[in-house]
């Protein structure tokens, strides 16, 4: 199969993730959408790696996974703390600060 098709898939996944961040209101779902975007990046890296015939992209994919895992640790900690003090994970409720 033509590797370019995987790039279209990566772009599609990235767009779905980005649209989800903009549209959805639950902090956990938002965060899942961000993770989808990162995984779309991974797919693009691996595909380009195959296309160019060098290993850089595959190595970067591993780095991305580690970074995404670190982000989960910090992100979930923050979201859970907010949930415990507000009993809601909706980002619309978090509006103590206004212009």
């Amino acid at each position: 199969m033509n590797p370019v098709n995987y790039l279209y898939l990566a772009a599609l996944l990235f767009t779905i993730g980005a649209a989800g961040v903009v549209i959805r209101r639950n902090a956990i779902v938002l965060f899942m959408c961000v993770e989808l975007m990162l995984n779309a990046c991974n797919l693009a890296f691996v595909t380009f790696s195959r296309l160019h015939g060098n290993l850089d992209g595959q190595i970067i994919a591993f780095f991305t996974m580690v970074v995404a895992a670190a982000e989960v640790v910090v992100g979930l900690a923050i979201i859970v703390t907010v949930f415990r003090s507000r009993h809601s994970a909706s980002v619309d409720d978090a509006s103590l600060m206004k212009l």
Binding site: M37, L38, F48, H52, D56, V67, G75, I78, R84, V91
Partner: protein
């Protein structure tokens, strides 16, 4: 066998010659500033794990201050050894550049962090709780605000000494960020300094709901923007087949030696280059806080603990502008006819947007947040110059601006009422009559923000605008001066409010700080005045440092 034949040559060759992987050659001496800071951060984590609670504060403060001072000494040593000029090179297998801009910005970040650590360690401002002196960080960040666990933690006198290793990790990432010489290092450094900052934002002792809200906003938007940065990196990698800055620049300029068939195919695809470059720029402009990627700035600056806000506002901006400069001047100079118009637009809306919205603000921290957005626009004007003067003027502006910001936020921590810091502007009315010294110091910082002569703000703005005008961005300078005038209006308004209005009877009191915050503010004032009265030495230093290695 037919199945084996379809296996890509990539894996078969890699499996056949495992002994050909060269062992990496790391120049530890040239990377020592970063290594010292990250090593100290790990020591800080061990202190948290093994020392009893009572001893942690002193130990953490000692380790942080010593590490930052030692790292700064290492930067000075490298600069004295001509690593900033004639011996500038790319270290760590091409991942990190050791050159003038990198060393200058690393030195600035380390000094800023050192002063910021002083404000982090301040324990005289908050009233004594149950016989314990406390700082501006939550007793126990995991406890629900107002809950029993929090009351017990406050009563037991817990403090969050984890802030010191967190700030050291953030500084470690910031040191790598402006010196990253490939896109992977850029991304990893971005995350290394962002993740501790997200946590630090959530740790305020007072107004904890506000602080947690700031953290969740900063985290979600920050993760969103770094995903854009990463996809941009993927596209640039697809375009050039490499992530090193020099490699991508060669492909952009069409100077690449051996063109593989795959590279020949992707090189011709300008969409990859343009979209990828734009997405990486987006990620960096988010960290800078440029319009239209500035939405997080006011909320996060207002909600985060004020010492963290000061550190973040100063150091993040220095690191992010360093990375932006390197990206635009080393990777994408061949593309400057494409990115210059875009950056023109961004600079104009950032300068005007920040200055105009700041006029309507009623909270000191939000006011300073919008002013930082306007300043990001002024610095972008210097970035757009695309001349050596552009680089050096941006370096100078960053050094000047970061100390003013740090000092201004340190003053904000002093003005307090029963609810903690009194950040509403109406409460600052008549402050000059009640505490002339604090008001005068804040006035100096505001005048520096406004760019009044004899302050560092004037020297910085003059250098940046001059570079922009020489670089053919005259219209940008006109808009910059207009927005400076708008910005001056609200800075002067605060000064008038402090000195020429009647003090409120229920107004805030000014807490007497320990020598830690006093020295932080004193350093801020000293740097502001020295860079304002005698900027030439530092301008020369910045212009010597203003050459990127490739």
């Amino acid at each position: 066998m037919t199945h084996a034949a379809t296996v890509h040559s990539l894996w078969t060759t890699a499996a056949a010659a495992p002994d050909k992987i060269p062992s990496p050659d790391i120049e530890y001496g040239q990377l020592s500033p970063t290594l010292i800071v990250l090593g100290a951060a790990i020591v800080g984590v061990l202190i948290e794990a093994f020392l009893p609670r009572r001893q942690r504060y002193a130990a953490q403060l000692f380790v942080s201050v010593v590490a930052l001072a030692a790292a700064f000494a290492a930067v000075i040593g490298l600069a004295a050894g001509d690593y900033g000029t004639s011996k500038a090179r790319v270290a760590a297998m091409g991942a990190i550049a050791v050159d003038g801009p990198a060393l200058f910005l690393q030195g600035t970040i380390l000094l800023v962090a050192l002063v910021a650590v002083f404000t982090f360690a301040e324990r005289r401002l908050d009233p004594v709780a149950h016989g314990n002196r406390v700082d501006s960080f939550a007793a126990q960040a995991a406890a629900v605000p107002g809950g029993d666990a929090e009351k017990a933690a406050v009563k037991a006198g817990f403090t969050t000494t984890e802030v010191f290793p967190l700030v050291l990790f953030a500084v470690g990432g910031m040191l790598v960020f402006p010196s990253a010489n490939d896109l992977l290092t850029l991304f990893v450094a971005l995350e290394v300094f962002s993740l501790p900052l997200y946590v630090l934002c959530a740790l305020a002792r007072r107004h904890r709901m506000l602080s947690q809200e700031a953290a969740v906003k900063y985290f979600l938007l920050g993760a969103f923007s770094s995903a854009f940065l990463l996809f941009g990196i993927a596209l640039l990698y697809g375009y050039a087949g490499t992530v090193t800055y020099a490699g991508i620049a060669d492909v952009v300029d069409g100077q690449v030696r051996n063109v593989t068939p795959a590279l020949a195919g992707t090189m011709g695809n300008d969409a990859l280059l343009l979209i990828g470059g734009a997405m990486v720029l987006m990620g960096l402009l988010f960290k800078i806080g440029a319009v239209p990627f500035h939405m997080w700035t006011p909320d996060v600056y207002q909600g985060a603990p004020t010492p963290v806000t000061g550190f973040m506002a100063a150091a993040t901006k220095v690191a992010a502008f360093g990375a932006l400069l390197r990206l635009l001047y080393v990777v994408l100079p061949g593309l400057r006819w494409d990115w210059r118009p875009v950056m023109w637009g961004v600079a104009i809306v950032t300068m005007l947007g920040g200055a105009i919205v700041a006029v309507t603000q009623t909270d000191v921290k939000r006011l300073l947040a919008y002013s930082s957005i306007a300043h990001a626009g002024f610095i972008l004007a210097g970035v757009i110059a695309t001349t050596p003067e552009g680089i050096s003027s941006v370096l100078f502006y960053l050094a000047a601006y970061s100390f003013v910001t740090l000092g201004a936020f340190a003053v904000v921590t002093l003005v307090r009422d029963a609810g903690g810091e009194a950040t509403h502007l109406s409460k600052w009315a008549g402050l000059g009559r009640r505490s002339p010294l604090v008001a005068a110091v804040f006035a100096v910082f505001l005048l520096a923000f406004a760019g009044i002569p004899l302050t560092s703000g004037f020297a910085g703005k003059f250098a940046v605008f001059k570079a922009a005008a020489d670089g053919g961005a005259g219209a940008l300078v006109v808009i910059g001066v207009i927005s400076s005038a708008i910005a001056a209006f609200f800075y002067i308004r605060v000064i008038v409010l402090m000195f020429f209005s009647e003090p409120r009877t229920d107004g805030p009191s000014v807490a007497v700080p320990s020598p830690l915050t006093s020295s932080a503010i004193a350093i801020g004032v000293a740097v502001t005045l020295v860079l304002g009265v005698a900027p030439q030495y530092f301008l020369d230093l910045a212009s010597q440092a203003g050459v990127f290695v490739r």
